[in-house]
């Protein structure tokens, strides 16, 4: 009980000292505030980006291999002229892969084209995207439908003029009215809406379905030339459960080489991409960003810590005779030590809390301005408070201990 009273009393003393010198308190906690703000802001940004990338990979399918003309990542001095002359994946190659690859769940062909004029009655979207896919696409990419259904096999194979539309397109053209069964016009051609996607939002790796129209690839082949670099067709393959991406890649590589009749000495004339490739690249950027900010924030905190130590030494000097009186009245060394230590820790904690609060305000202000969700996590708050408290202890212990060791007679005389 006596111990608790001592702690409480030294805490109140520390609080009083901070209140008396408001301007000094404010100025000395600035360094810590800036340091904590810098560190926690970067951690919040990086956490947000990492969460976004993880979600994107999950939605794209972390076990999907993309057979394309271009690789997603390049090494140093990549021979771009070699990639330029590569052939594009075709519908027939997709069909042949289905015959030659054994361990796949689904294989589909996709191609994307932008700049589509989409109309419904008097409403128009000028720069819509049309994504053309073969029938098994729904087994590769997970999605939810708000209304309607996916294409039937007959619609896909026959290239019927049907489509699924994204949430934003539905809202722009139909607002809150029923869209399924209605006819829209895409570049002057009529398409019947058979389904509407749920709202998905955008992420760093995937633009989602909100702003596109999904049509059967056999319909797309009728209206545009899909064997062109402009639409960049690609084959998507998903392996059976328990089959690794590496194993699937090997099977696809063998099958594609035999389809394209490549001799053993010839290099692959196609790229096998997976979402992990981009994720690894982005993670590498995050790591560099974290280290840079770690150094900047660390320096700021170091300067702040020295500031706190300096202020505490001044404080001890100012209150030396008060310490002497307290000691002569029976105050223990421990009590004096705690007084100054609490003062330092409180200063740093207030600085840290202000820094964290500023990050919170900034994350609210940036909502919508950055392409990924920003939120201050518990682990970042704990980290901010931990760093603040520790800087307070480290910066304040030496002045506090020096004060506790003062001789009462000498201290009163000063």
């Amino acid at each position: 009980m006596i111990f608790l009273n001592l702690v409480k009393e030294s805490f109140l003393f520390a609080l009083h000292a901070l209140r008396v010198n408001r301007l000094r308190t404010f100025l000395s906690l600035l360094g810590i505030t800036i340091g904590i703000f810098a560190i926690i802001l970067v951690f919040t940004l990086v956490d947000g980006m990492e969460r976004d990338v993880t979600t994107s990979i999950q939605s794209l399918g972390d076990n999907v291999i993309y057979v394309q003309k271009w690789p997603w990542t390049f090494g140093e001095n990549y021979p771009w002229w070699k990639y330029m002359s590569r052939p594009l994946p075709t519908y027939d190659e997709m069909e042949s892969l289905k015959d030659r690859v054994e361990n796949f769940k689904a294989i589909a062909l996709g191609a994307n084209t932008g700049g589509q004029l989409i109309k419904y009655k008097n409403k128009t979207i000028e720069d819509g995207s049309m994504f053309m896919v073969s029938h098994d696409y729904d087994k590769i990419r997970a999605f939810d439908l708000q209304q309607g259904r996916y294409f039937t096999q007959i619609e896909s194979d026959g290239g019927r003029n049907v489509c699924l539309i994204g949430y934003s397109i539905k809202q722009n053209l139909f607002e809150n009215y029923e869209a399924v069964g209605k006819e829209i016009s895409v570049k002057g051609r009529k398409l019947t809406v058979v389904g509407v996607f749920n709202k998905e939002g955008k992420s760093m790796l995937d633009n989602g379905f909100d702003e596109l129209i999904l049509v059967p690839i056999n319909y797309g082949r009728k209206v545009i030339d899909i064997n062109s670099d402009r639409v960049d067709p690609f084959i998507m393959a998903k392996g059976v459960d328990g089959f690794t991406n590496e194993q699937l890649k090997e099977e696809l590589r063998g099958a594609m080489r035999s389809i394209r009749r490549l001799r053993p000495v010839q290099e692959d004339d196609f790229a096998l991409n997976e979402s992990k490739l981009i994720a690894n690249n982005i993670t590498g950027i995050f790591d560099i960003l974290q280290i840079v900010e770690w150094i900047i924030g660390g320096l700021s905190i170091l300067v702040g810590g020295f500031g706190i130590a300096n202020i505490l030494f001044v404080s001890v000097k100012e209150r030396t005779n008060l310490i002497g009186i307290q000691k002569s009245l029976g105050a223990k060394n421990f009590f004096i030590l705690l007084q100054f230590l609490f003062e330092a820790v409180l200063l740093c904690l207030i600085g840290g809390i202000i820094g964290i609060f500023l990050v919170y305000l900034l994350s609210l202000a940036l909502e919508g301005a950055v392409p990924f969700p920003l939120s201050l996590t518990v682990s970042n708050i704990v980290l901010g408070l931990t760093v603040s408290a520790n800087i307070g202890i480290i910066a304040g212990f030496l002045p506090a201990y020096t004060a506790s060791q003062l001789d009462p007679v000498e201290a009163i005389r000063s």
Binding site: F43, W294, N333, F334, L337, S379, T386, N390, I391, I393
Partner: protein, 114 residues
């Protein structure tokens, strides 16, 4: 023990300075991305260990018995938690062990008070 007789021996001074440098180097680690990845509350634990180690070194510097004892306790707790989370401390472990042993040999000559 007479307070005037307790002065900081030179070898102890050197080792205390080495210890303080080690603590200063490990301060930025509290908020390093690597430590953060080890868990939500690991930076809290790691930070507490760094601060307590700093306090222990101040105790050693002032020739107080609680200094080496606190250093030993922190060293043991740090080692146990490092093993538990799977961190290897090839450079720090032998250095900390030497510091611990040196500090403990001077304990009989140190002051009992705070």
């Amino acid at each position: 023990m007479n307070k005037a007789l307790i002065t900081l021996p030179k070898p102890l001074k050197i080792f205390a300075i080495i210890g303080l440098i080690m603590v200063i180097i490990s301060i930025p680690s509290i908020f390093s991305p690597f430590i953060k990845k080890l868990g939500t509350f690991y930076p809290l634990l790691f930070g507490s260990m760094v601060s307590l180690r700093f306090m222990a070194l101040i105790g050693v510097w002032y020739m107080k018995k609680w200094g080496p004892i606190l250093f030993l306790i922190v060293f043991l707790v740090f080692e146990i938690t490092s093993i538990m989370v799977g961190i290897s401390r090839e450079i720090e472990l032998p250095l900390s062990t030497i510091l611990c042993l040196v500090f403990l040999t001077y304990v009989p000559r140190m002051d009992d008070n705070l």
